[in-house]
């Protein structure tokens, strides 16, 4: 066991971890942050996506010890003050059904919009190509992002 100081959603948290523990398990089981979900444990599905210094990563493929010294953001952090415009748009467009993949997709698109405030449909598709959604057929997710980023909004 090693003590880590992790910066999660702009707060410093102390946690004891084994060197082989993955970030996903530490966030969920030791820090009580439950929005990153487990879907495959091998980086295929993207449900465990978190932002590491603003970059979307799969927390099932990151060791907790590797995250020390980096800033970790989950959907809890994004929603802390008020919902982001992206989240509001997802609500308006009924963009999710079961909601299990939603936290991961919100973070993947958050990263995209930081880099490309007006993405093309192709860029949107590519940004979430690693986040599987079995319910929606993705179309309502595209619609919400396209609507949000069109024109002067």
């Amino acid at each position: 066991m090693k003590e880590l100081i992790l910066k999660v959603n702009n707060e410093l948290r102390s946690v004891y971890v084994e060197s082989n523990e993955i970030l996903l398990d530490v966030l969920r089981e030791k820090l009580g942050i439950k929005s990153p979900k487990c879907g495959c444990e091998r980086g295929d599905c993207g449900a465990c996506t978190v932002l590491l210094d603003g970059k979307a990563v799969r927390s099932c493929l990151v060791l907790a010890v590797e995250a020390e010294g980096h800033s970790i953001t989950t959907v809890e952090g994004i929603s802390a003050e008020k919902l982001s415009a992206l989240q509001e748009s997802f609500i308006q467009f009924n963009s999710f059904q079961c909601g299990y993949c939603a936290p991961g997709i919100i973070l993947a698109v958050t990263e995209l919009l930081e880099k490309h405030p007006k993405p093309s449909l192709e860029e949107i598709k590519e940004s979430i190509a690693g986040n599987l959604c079995r319910c929606t057929g993705y179309t309502p997710i595209f619609d919400a992002i396209m609507d949000l980023t069109k024109g002067d909004k």
Binding site: R28, G32, K34, S35, K37, C38, G39, C40, E41, R42, D44, C45, A47, T74, V75, E76, S79, L83, Q87, F90, I91, Q92, N94, F96, Q97, C98, G99, Y100, C101, A102, P103, I106, I124, K125, E126, I128, A129, G130, N131, L132, C133, R134, C135, T136, G137, Y138, T139, P140, I141, F142
Partner: protein
Amino acid sequence: MKDYKYIGTDVTRIDALEKISGAAIYGDDIDFGANLLHAELVQSTMAHAIIKSIDISEALKVKGVYKIFTGKDFPYKFGLYMKDRYIFAQDKVRFVGEQIAAVIAFSPGAAKRAAELVKVEYEALPAVLDQMEALKDDTALLHPELADYPHVPWFFPKPGTNIAHWRKTRKGDLDKGFSEADFILEDTYQVPRYAHCAIETHVAVGKFDHSGRLTVWSSSQSPHTQRHLFAEALGLSHKDVRVIAPHVGGGFGGKAGVTMEIIPAALATKLKGYAVKLRYSREQEFINTYQRLGVVAKIKMGVKKDGTITALDHKIYWDAGAYVEYGANVVNAVGLSAIGPYRIHNVSIDSVCVYTNLPPGGAYRGFGYSEMLFGLESHITRIANELGLDQIEFRRKNAIKAGDLTAYGAKMNPNGLIECIDKVQQAIEWGKKPSSNDPTKVIGQGFSLFWKAPAMPPNASSSAFLKFNEDATINLIISGMDIGQGYQTVMAQIAAEILSVPPGKIRVETPDTDRNPYEWQTVASHITWSSGNAVKKAALDAREQILSLINRVYHYPIDELYLEDEAVKCQTDPAFLLPLKNFVVDGIMTRDGTFKGGPINARGMFMPEFSSTNGDPETSQGGHPNVHYTVGAAALNLEIDRETGKMRVLKAALAIDAGKALNPDLVRGQITGGLLQGLATVLYEDMRYNDKGKLLNPNFTDYKIPTSMDVPDEIIPIIVEVPQPDGPFGARGIGEHTMLPAAPMIANAVEDALGIRIKEMPITAEKVALAVLNKDKQ
């Protein structure tokens, strides 16, 4: 058309905020504290074998291991429609992956390490991996005790064979029908097994407390059915079994009934005071929940020159797996409905449920109709082409209408099938397919009809409680599951419409069987219809209580009172307006200072009292096994690269008769989502087994489900509304249906583009490229 305030409007989901903010709690998100134990399964490596011995001695030495249980500890059978399954394998294993033992440990890692050290000694039996092999006389029997298995009265197992159920449907005179035909086409179609691939794997936690009460937290479509089966199998009273179902991360039929949930439920009874969790890995999710059944379908259809279908002989052989307690009802449902949405007078259907040494088949969105329609709708297009008829005209001519008799002799419900056909034909611009500028690419058009009825026991019911709060917000207490389809939102809309309270002021929670009233299961696309009727009745009950109170206090006649904008108003006295929040809990103060009324609590219940399974076993004539059918049509333009076989859906149109779309945006959501799931089964997915019955692709690297890059370029969702007479505001279910036409549409479009008919799913790029090569060689 009636003017509604909330019904038929695009209300945003009432669960959206929870799900979008990360607040929604799913099964694996619940904390259980220090007394949580973790279970890991020891699973069979053999497809069919006698268990000679189980050695747990090495496993018990692993640090952190608490106990190990095997089949001896739980000699209990269970099953939804047929009790052919054990909680743990007893003397035999019947598929690779079947649970033999469970290691209980204080950490998941210790449980997993120890499970690998449990040594099982087997004596191999011949493995039966194909349903057609399983039907041969000299094949090994999977269930020699079949005659002793309790089952519902509408199943007809054949002891001494591998046939678990044989649904026979006979109508008219088949020989006469074929003798009247000018053309007969006979062929065989095959469909492999598929996996649901909900992104959340199954998880369940059981806790048996020191007072003898069992609580199970379960990612489930069926909390009440689970409670019932747990109570039955474990010999507990229903009052002492409680199932709590949090948000579900996708179901698609995979979380219907009972599969792995019974394991932690049973383990808990021997681990008093602890909570014990079983969470499936993705690999276990593929191997040991339900799978969609595999199919070999033999179709013989006779047609007159003018396009009238005269006879259909449809034989469907289902690879139902090692246990068929739920899967046999898939076979049953299709055995009643394998005429498709057509008027055919001379019919013979044999739908045969066959045991194989593969994982148990069960409910999967579409409940067998996708598998059946792949063959039938391929066949329909081929016959039209052979006769030189337009395939849409051919379908329109034979399309079933309200009042026509189904294969089992009941009358078809009102439906908008012709309107669906017309609208899809128009939307896809049938006959005017685009051409590609790229010489390696060709474009084909495909068309398909679809239909499906809920498959459920005749007494499957729904119920609802509704209670007002002080501020006239509402808690609607129901037990269907929002598995993503938008159930909670639509139920809130129904109550909102009747009580004039906006849906956003109605809270619908996920169920707890101790507090929420009975619901059969969230399956069969019946929940909008059935639970919707119960909610409507509960809301009407509340309204009646409210209006009666106003009548008692203010003496306005009840038929002059109405609800509008969260208040009671009176038609004959425009000055009268009493906000609901003034009295729905606290009552109304009268002149002498006393109060009348009190909290408004209401209830509603629905059971389809006209349904029955009393059909003749040899013909299926006589009963009323299906409550109604939902119908529709779909078409697409498919671009195919002749060199690589890669296919791209340029445009797809799907029309469905929702009866009344209570929330059109949610219906459109089912269309875009279901269509892609259907396209995936034909273009990308299939479960590959080796010759030992081991699944070769139990992960998302090797079993490809669609990503955002695989979406059709354009989808045109079309809603048709021919009201369902007994539906809430005319609604009927649409959730499963949207994936039904995908596979035959692709097969039909491939033939249109390339002149190649593919009769075995899936139709992958590889298969198409090879077929083109073969054709070019000839």
